[in-house]
Structures are given as C-alpha cells and as structure tokens.
Homo-oligomer: 361 residues x 2
Amino acid sequence: MQRIYNFSAGPAILPEEVLKEAQENLFSLPGVGMSVLEISHRSKVYDAIHLQAKQDMSELMGITDDYSLLFLQGGASLQFSMVPLNLMPPANKADYIVTGSWSKKAVKEAKRVGTVNIAGTTESETFNRIPKQEELKLDPEAAYVHFTSNNTIYGTEWYNEPEVGNVPLVCDASSDFMHKKTDLKKYALVYAGAQKNLGPAGVTVVIIRKDLLARSQDSLHTMLNYKTHVENDSLYNTINVFGVYIIGLVAKWLKKNGGLDAMYAMNKEKAAILYKCIDESGGYYKGHALPDSRSLMNVTFRLPSEELEKKLIAEATKAGFDGLKGHRSVGGLRASIYNAFPKKGVEELVSFMKDFQSKNG
Amino acid sequence: MQRIYNFSAGPAILPEEVLKEAQENLFSLPGVGMSVLEISHRSKVYDAIHLQAKQDMSELMGITDDYSLLFLQGGASLQFSMVPLNLMPPANKADYIVTGSWSKKAVKEAKRVGTVNIAGTTESETFNRIPKQEELKLDPEAAYVHFTSNNTIYGTEWYNEPEVGNVPLVCDASSDFMHKKTDLKKYALVYAGAQKNLGPAGVTVVIIRKDLLARSQDSLHTMLNYKTHVENDSLYNTINVFGVYIIGLVAKWLKKNGGLDAMYAMNKEKAAILYKCIDESGGYYKGHALPDSRSLMNVTFRLPSEELEKKLIAEATKAGFDGLKGHRSVGGLRASIYNAFPKKGVEELVSFMKDFQSKNG
C-alpha cells in the first residue's frame, strides 16, 4: 500500500530500502533457513550481523579502539541511572546541563547516586535555547558533565559541544545520534535510544571510552555495570537480535548514501526549507526555538490559535502527513525530520503549510 | 527458501504463520501506511496492538485483575536484580531454590540486596533433577521464594510448583512460559524472556500481583521500580514496539490452535517421542535429566563419546536439523522443542537418530 509521510518524533521513519530488505528476508535469512527472529544470539549467523553492524557504525562515526560500542536495552531512561551508578564514584558529584524534559529526568536519577550540580539551564525561558558557554557554571572536579545534544520536545539542539576541559563529557544523543559526524574524542560516553535515527525501538546504543570502566564498581548489579557489557561484547545475556540486524541495515544504507557528512548536508537542507517557511510566514507560523538553537531534527512551531493547530493537524493527517502533533507539554506542532525522512516530504509539507495559511490566514 | 528445523534453545523457532503475517505487513501495516518498526508507541495504532496482545495473553493464561502484565526490557537477567530490589524489603531475606545456572545467577544478584537462603539445590548431582518438596528448607518469614520452572541447560522442569504456604512465590519461567496453563493464583510474580516460547528477543514479560507493589520503595531508580511500569502500563519510556507486535501475533496463533491446554498436550506428545527414542536406544543415547524431572522443552542427552556427538551434530546440520549442540557447560546435545516446534520435526529427528545409531552403534 501507499506509504505516508511519518513526522513522528520516535519511533520514527526508517529508510524504505531497509524496510524492503528486512521484509524480503523476514521469513528466512538467505542461506540460513531461519528467520532473523529465530536465530540464536550465539550463532555464527548472528555473530556476522553483530560484527558488521559494529564495523559499519564505527567506520561511519570514526569510533576508535579506545572506545567500546554497545547495544543494550532499557532505553535512554535506563542510562539515566547507569551513567551515575557507574561514573559518579569516587567524586560522587556531577554537572548536568538542563535543556529540557529528558535532561531533567536524567538529573532525577543522578540525584539518587550523588550530588548534582545544575551547571546550566534555560528552563525559565521554556527551554527555547541552548545555554551559551559563558553561562555554564562547571565544576572542574565533577565526575563528568552530562548534556542532551538534541531536545525532541522543545526542538533545540547543540551545534557545538560544551567545552568542559578535562572533565569527561557524557551525552544523551538519543534524538540526533548520527545526524552528522561528531568529533568523538570530545566525549567520554554517548548513549542513544535507536528508535529515532538508527533503528526500531528496543536497542540502546552506548559508546564508552574504555578508561572510564575503571570507575565501575564490582558491587553494581551485573546488568547495570558497563564492564559486564564491554567484557561480553553486549552479549552477556540475550541481545535484541532483530534490533541490531535493522541497525546494521541502516548503517549500510548510511554508507551507501555518502555517510554522515552527506547526511548532515541533507539534514541542514531539509531543516532550512521548513524554517524558511516558518520565517517567511509573517508570524503566522512561530517557531518555539530561538534561531541560534534550532534543531535540525525536530522543528517545533505554533499557529495563531489552538483551533488552527488542531485544524491543520487534522487536514495534514488526511493529506498523508502523520505525527505532526507537538508533545503535550509544549503543544503546537512538531515535524521530526530524521536522516531517513525524504526531502520531498519536507517540500510537500511546506507546500501544504503555505496553502493552509492562504486559506486560514 | 526452504526452512530448516531449528532446535535452538532461544532465541528459538516461531510459528510460520506468525512470520508470514509479519513479513507481509512489515513494509506497511494494513491501513496505516507505516511499518510497525516506525509507528509511535504513543499512537492509536500501537495502543490497539498493545491492548490486544495483553488481552489475548490474559485470556490464554487466565490473568485476573489483581495482576499486572508488563512488557519490559533487559531480559530475565535484569529481573534477577529487579525482583530482590523491589520485593526483598522489609524482611531483606529470601529463599532461592537452585536448579541450574540461571538460578545461580539470580542468587548472585539477590545477595547484593539482602540475605539469600538456598532453600534447596541439586548442584551436587549436576542439576539432573528437581528437588523434592520434602528436601526444601523454606523460611516462613522469607520475603519470597524464587524458583526456575525450567532449566534450559540441564533439561529439567518442575511439574508442580513448590509448596510455599503464604510466602509469595516468584518464578523465572523464561524457558517454559506458556507451555501449559498454570494456576497463576499460586504465583506472586512470574517473569520470562520472550525469546523462547513467545516472541523475538528483546521483550521481558513480567506478571506481578498488584499487592506486591506496596514493597517497591520510592528510593529505587525509576526504571528498576515495578510501580513505574505498572502505573504507566509498560509505557513509561519507549517500549519494544515490534517485539510486542510479534508477541501479539503468537498469542493469536496460540488461541487459534486451541490455547495452552492443546499446546501442553502437544508438548507432552513431542517430548515423549524424543525421550522414547533415548530410552529405547539401549544406552546409546543417555538423557541428562532423571525421568521424573525431564523437561518438555529442552531434551538433553549424550552419546557414547564426544567424537560421536560431534559427528552427529555435523551430520544433523547437513540434514537440516540446526541448534542441537548442548550448552558448553554440560556438553552433549540439546533439542529444544518449544510450542512452535512442529511434531513432524521431532519425528524426523528421531528417525535421523535411529539411523545414526544403526550406522555408528
């Protein structure tokens, strides 16, 4: 059947090529005689899938041998706990930069482990921007600095990492993971739920610099200890086989389409089309994020009234644009345009929005 | 392509009907225009999948309103921690019956939380049987009694639950979950990785009696607290959408095929065919489990020599019987014959085994 344009914030759109290959082989992997849903995570068939996914991601992102790439479960939400449980000792204090709801949830769990210093926040400005470097109050003795690279709900994004000196930098990159090539050397740990830019829900990617593992104490519960997963190459217990398989297909697709630099260029182009429409609407469409903090992934905006917002969403849904409703905590609209979202869909949405404005302006 | 017989212990075989339906709809769910890999976990489409899977499982298992059915992540291995973290206080002691490697792993995590009383174990007999009721040394003041209903590695299974009086009974049912209709009233909590009898890897089913939730302290990390997941109907954070979708298809298949009583009858029939072959081999095939503890799910056996075992496995693989190699900790062979495994495949394996014996006896 006809596919629609899926603007959902996550789980989100995946490349059609990936879906088609997964579909073709779902009943039986070529030469295997079993579905990828049925193969043992200890089999040679899975080993090859696992290794290839890791290799392709490492190549795309420039992950070097001093880092481990893990495929875990539990989402970013479980990382909110695992990060402080593993990394906060022995200093037992950490800096958190709060740029939205997800940062706040990370803070909540970290406080169960030790002292949290809010090194910066834009909450009083409804999280409509990323704090400037000079606003940050960083503790040079913090165990780490935690930030959220992209804020799905508010539609803001860090263009450059906060400068943190020698303190390890930890990033929740769930909603802009692999949208561009970042300098991984700046990071001590990056985590991301796969379900936005990388694959289906149910896999959490963690990239951890190996020297950090010295902090993980043996008293930690086995499944909550990063050492367990590094030592067992994410296979201490049964991994989400299908999820990693799809991630592998997405990584292959990314390589085929020019890698992360090409992806970044396209992401900037797509976002620019949408922000231009907002900026040229004479205030009819009003972006939530300030221009210097606008997300390339999640474009959030309002209309002159909630009635018009509802009307636009209803008409858009009928026209084949799905998932435009903003998060309940900020209202309005949100167009999520991750790597796999086609430029054509953005252009068609803009055309629809202009048409809507002319009829309802 | 031709499918082979998959005797893997888990992830394991799924019903062909389920795979075919999933395959047909993987590119786009009927009437939705998006893949199930792309739909939001907050969408009406997913709501319907979630509700139907829960309803069908509740109907199949007889889950009543005083229990909550959860779809979590992290596998049974994370439950090894969540169970004691949530349920051990305030007594801070619990009984564990140890019948294999997985029970031992559960004990290891429980000891991080409080005092563990090993209420029974058959470790000195290489876990070749389930302890008898009169062998158990239960503490009437224990917070709970934990047991492992089926031992994948050793091929043993509890035919009846241990009798524990008023102490809450907790069961790791990962490898025989839903292989028969059990009297759920006997249980306070049941957990199971889905990847053996119920679906793909990446979903952990937890069934918890609601009164137990009073024990979960607010100081627990949010994702480790059962209350979080009960209060949010497993949707506190992004659920494994695809995994629950497949579980729903399996539940539908179970209903269509007569439910758990019919499944149990067939499981007994399949296991009997295989054990008969072992028993009538004149000692050529030797079962690991004692007859009164034999698992209906995992049939473990040895041959007269390791050379013959290797030879059989190699020839079986060529003949289209996969996954027969036993767990490295016990060696030998293991045929896992879960709900979805066809009787015809068991009959063909037996025929193959008889032929092998006649040629190599």
